[in-house]
């Protein structure tokens, strides 16, 4: 029988220790991993429950002829909903209105948001500027139904303050904001911009506060006026804020709230308030068999268009990050 030399014994002991260490390290790694998973489990669970499942369910519904009023009626129908959409003149008219609405909304939001942010950033007193920030943000926290009913009263052709100001005080022609089909989409956008501008102002303000003040001082020393400083310093350095505002605005293409609150039981003069979100809502909750399948397909289409728009914004306005 061969006996182990002392060195061989030491080597075996060392190997055993190394194996034990590896096992301990594995246990620690597994334990760390488990710990990590345990920490993210609530977030992942909530995401899967409130985001993942609805997305998957929405996709399944979009490829079916789901009719909510007919019990157990959800046959898979492939891309038939998109064939119908292609032939559906109401959908295209609604889509056209939604693009117009989005155009008014995005331009309005950018102009007013940027203007508001620049004005507030020029206030030197901290207390004063915080008061203006709060005032600007107030519409965001106001419930949308309250905000829009307020606008409906303000824009009333006969009794609204807006037309009183235009017609009776300034002597200007006053549009019939909610009664004239040509004015309905801009009116919906005005109310929506007012509601959201606080958030945009804050986003731009964060960007403006992040710009190094020395850049302005150097430019001023070089003789740059306020406009040139704004055009050549503020605007270029706000590019990330623009990306954020534009991406957050992309979802507005499928909105329905303004139309529903201004015109609860009909689609406004000559159906002028029938934007695609409203049409989708009507198909899903008001008309016929409540065709959730077709409505989901419309919403999915709008969602994809919004995602593509966001991707384009990212691509066009991307800024190079330093390593």
């Amino acid at each position: 029988m061969q006996t182990l030399s002392p060195s061989a014994g030491t080597s075996t002991t060392l190997r055993a220790e190394a194996a034990a260490n590896r096992a301990a390290r594995r246990r620690r790694i597994v334990g760390d991993a488990l710990m990590g998973y345990a920490f993210i489990l609530p977030a992942v669970g909530l995401y899967l429950l409130f985001q993942g499942y609805p997305i998957v369910r929405g996709l399944m519904i979009a490829f079916s002829d789901y009719r909510f009023l007919i019990p157990d009626h959800q046959p898979f129908n492939g891309v038939n909903n998109w064939f119908e959409m292609w032939r559906d003149a109401t959908f295209w008219a609604a889509m056209n209105r939604s693009f117009q609405y989005t155009g008014y909304y995005v331009v309005g939001l950018l102009v007013i948001g940027l203007l508001g942010a620049v004005l507030i950033s020029s206030i030197h007193g901290q207390k004063e500027s915080s008061v203006y920030r709060v005032i600007a943000y107030l519409p965001v926290v106001l419930p949308i139904a309250v905000a829009l009913l307020l606008w409906r009263q303000l824009l009333n052709n006969q009794f609204g303050y807006v037309n009183h100001l235009l017609r009776d005080v300034l002597g200007l022609p006053a549009p019939n904001w909610l009664g004239d089909a040509a004015w309905v989409i801009p009116t919906l956008a005005i109310a929506a911009v007012w509601k959201q501008m606080g958030q945009t102002i804050l986003l731009f303000l964060i960007g403006i506060y992040g710009i190094n003040r020395e850049l302005y001082e150097a430019a001023a020393i070089d003789g740059a006026g306020a406009l040139r400083r704004f055009l050549h310093i503020t605007l270029p350095l706000l590019r990330p804020s623009f990306v954020l505002v534009l991406v957050l605005s992309a979802g507005v293409l499928g909105t329905a709230e303004e139309s529903l609150i201004f015109f609860p039981n009909e689609n406004g003069p000559r159906a002028a308030a029938q934007i695609v979100g409203r049409y989708s809502y009507d198909v899903a909750f008001k008309l016929g068999d409540m065709r959730w399948g077709y409505a989901a397909a419309m919403s999915l289409t709008v969602g994809i268009i919004s995602m593509v728009a966001s991707a384009i914004v990212f691509r066009v306005l991307r800024s190079d990050r330093p390593d």
Partner: protein
């Protein structure tokens, strides 16, 4: 590698162990039986209980303690009188049954329907189905046939419902394809509401009987009140209010056997052409052609008259007083016509697959009954909001005494001559309401003719209805 200064070994075990324990406990709780299992619907062949006096609520079905059920109704109706009626019902049924009436927000239907599909609907009955939704409620299984439940109910009037109604046609519209689905919670009789002070100013003492004469009167009112900028007539953009009501004064039955409104009838052309003249002559303007939710032009006194439910009149009476606002049946096509107007019945119903639907129907029959202290908590309140009682007894007891609203008593004269909207019109109502207005607006703006407007609207309505597979 930088080590965590805090030794985690024992705390990690504790954390993971606690997490696993909590997860397990949560899973166990989630998989255990719900707190309030839904009782199966009472079999239709349940034996009728002993007859109870008319005013008495339903006798208990369960022995040994009160059973409890949940019912649902929109907030408005709960606060108007259903809460009070239910409280009185619970008091009368103490120890036998307890009804918890939940006040639901608008838009509850999809949620309830999903629960019906899952067989988890917690409510036995609902206190309010607007007439234009009743068809959908039946077709989707939300409302169930209640003939057997009504027969089995101990509430006395259930045995001879038809005889208690003010007119027999009120009974007809609670049924669909021969089955009873609904118990009426109010009758809506559409009226012409007008400013009597503006009419007096024009030197006219009463609303003319015919549309032709009424049109002349509107012209006079416009002239006499021109300084105040009064617009003679308002039209609300909901088919059943102004346009639909005007149409039924020309033609008694305005829908076909499939429930589709007959917009190509000569009488509908008469109706829309009349309004076309009014638009051209400034008797209606874009300001008085108003969306559903905004009647501020009427509330602020800028309009002389409009055709609508009684709430139109009641609202203005609150602002301008009974001396300056009045109501009447709408003018008719010819002087010899018996007065006719739009009527519909809104109702309560039992939920399909609902728990203990018998108790739900007993509750509905009692709070919406023809007499008794419990029903007296509901019917007089209806008059003060919108609508009218359906029972002869409640008419005598409450309507004839409602001196603030004499027009409601007058409106009952038209019930026998009018056709109350049946459940089947719900098949086409949403499509009609959605599709008709852009065509009418183009016609009244002079861009297209009446034929094109009607043909275009009907084509779109029929296309929309054709998408339905029911």
């Amino acid at each position: 590698m930088m080590r965590d200064p805090m030794p985690l070994k024992s705390s990690r075990r504790t954390f993971l162990g606690t997490s696993a324990g909590l997860l397990g406990a949560g899973l166990l709780a989630a998989c255990s039986a719900p707190a309030q299992p839904a009782a199966p619907a009472k079999p239709a062949e349940s034996k009728p209980a002993a007859a109870a006096p008319a005013a008495q609520p339903a006798a208990p079905a369960a022995a040994g303690g009160a059973k409890s059920i949940k019912t649902l109704v929109d907030q408005t109706w709960a606060e108007l009188g259903m809460n009070d009626a239910t409280a009185a019902y619970n008091e009368a049924m103490k120890g036998k049954v307890a009804v918890e009436l939940e006040a639901g927000a608008a838009g509850w239907e999809p949620k309830a329907l999903a629960m019906i599909k899952d067989k988890s609907i917690p409510w036995s009955a609902h206190g309010y189905a607007p007439f234009f939704n009743q068809y959908n409620y039946i077709k989707s299984g939300m409302a169930m046939p209640i003939d057997d439940l009504v027969k089995a109910s101990p509430v006395a009037w259930a045995r001879d419902m038809k005889s208690t109604y003010y007119a027999p046609n009120i009974d007809d519209v609670n049924r669909f394809e021969g089955k009873l689905y609904f118990i009426p919670m109010k009758l809506n009789i559409h009226l012409l509401g007008y400013r009597s002070d503006y009419l007096k100013k024009a030197g006219i003492d009463k609303i003319p009987d015919t549309w032709d004469d009424f049109e002349k009167a509107l012209g006079e009112v416009k002239k006499a009140n021109a300084a105040d900028g009064v617009i003679p007539f308002a039209m609300r953009k909901e088919f059943y209010r102004t346009l639909g009501t005007s149409y039924v004064t020309y033609k008694q039955q305005i829908w076909d056997d499939k429930g589709i409104f007959q917009l190509d009838a000569p009488e509908f052309y008469d109706t829309i052409n009349m309004y076309n003249r009014w638009f051209k002559n400034g008797l209606i303007t874009s300001d008085s052609f108003i969306p559903a939710g905004d009647i501020s032009i009427w509330e602020k006194g800028k309009v002389f008259a409009g055709i609508d439910s009684h709430s139109w009149i009641r609202t203005a009476k609150k602002v301008y007083g009974n001396d300056n606002v009045a109501g009447s049946l709408p003018p008719q096509a010819a002087k010899t016509d018996k007065p006719r107007t739009w009527m519909h019945v809104d109702s309560g119903f039992a939920f399909g697959r609902g728990p203990d639907v018998q108790a739900g129907v007993d509750w509905l029959l009692t709070i919406l009954g023809p007499d008794g202290e419990i029903a007296d908590k509901w019917w007089p309140k209806v008059i003060t909001f919108s609508g009218s009682p359906v029972h002869k007894t409640m008419f005598e007891k409450h309507v004839t005494k409602a001196t603030d609203y004499p027009e409601i008593a007058d409106s009952y004269k038209s019930i026998a001559n009018s056709t109350i909207m049946p459940v089947v019109v719900g098949a086409s109502y949403p499509a009609t309401q959605t599709k008709i207005w852009p065509w009418m607006e183009r016609f009244w703006a002079g861009e297209i003719g009446d034929k094109e407007a009607v043909t275009g609207a009907m084509k779109e309505i029929q296309e929309e209805i054709a998408k339905s597979v029911r």
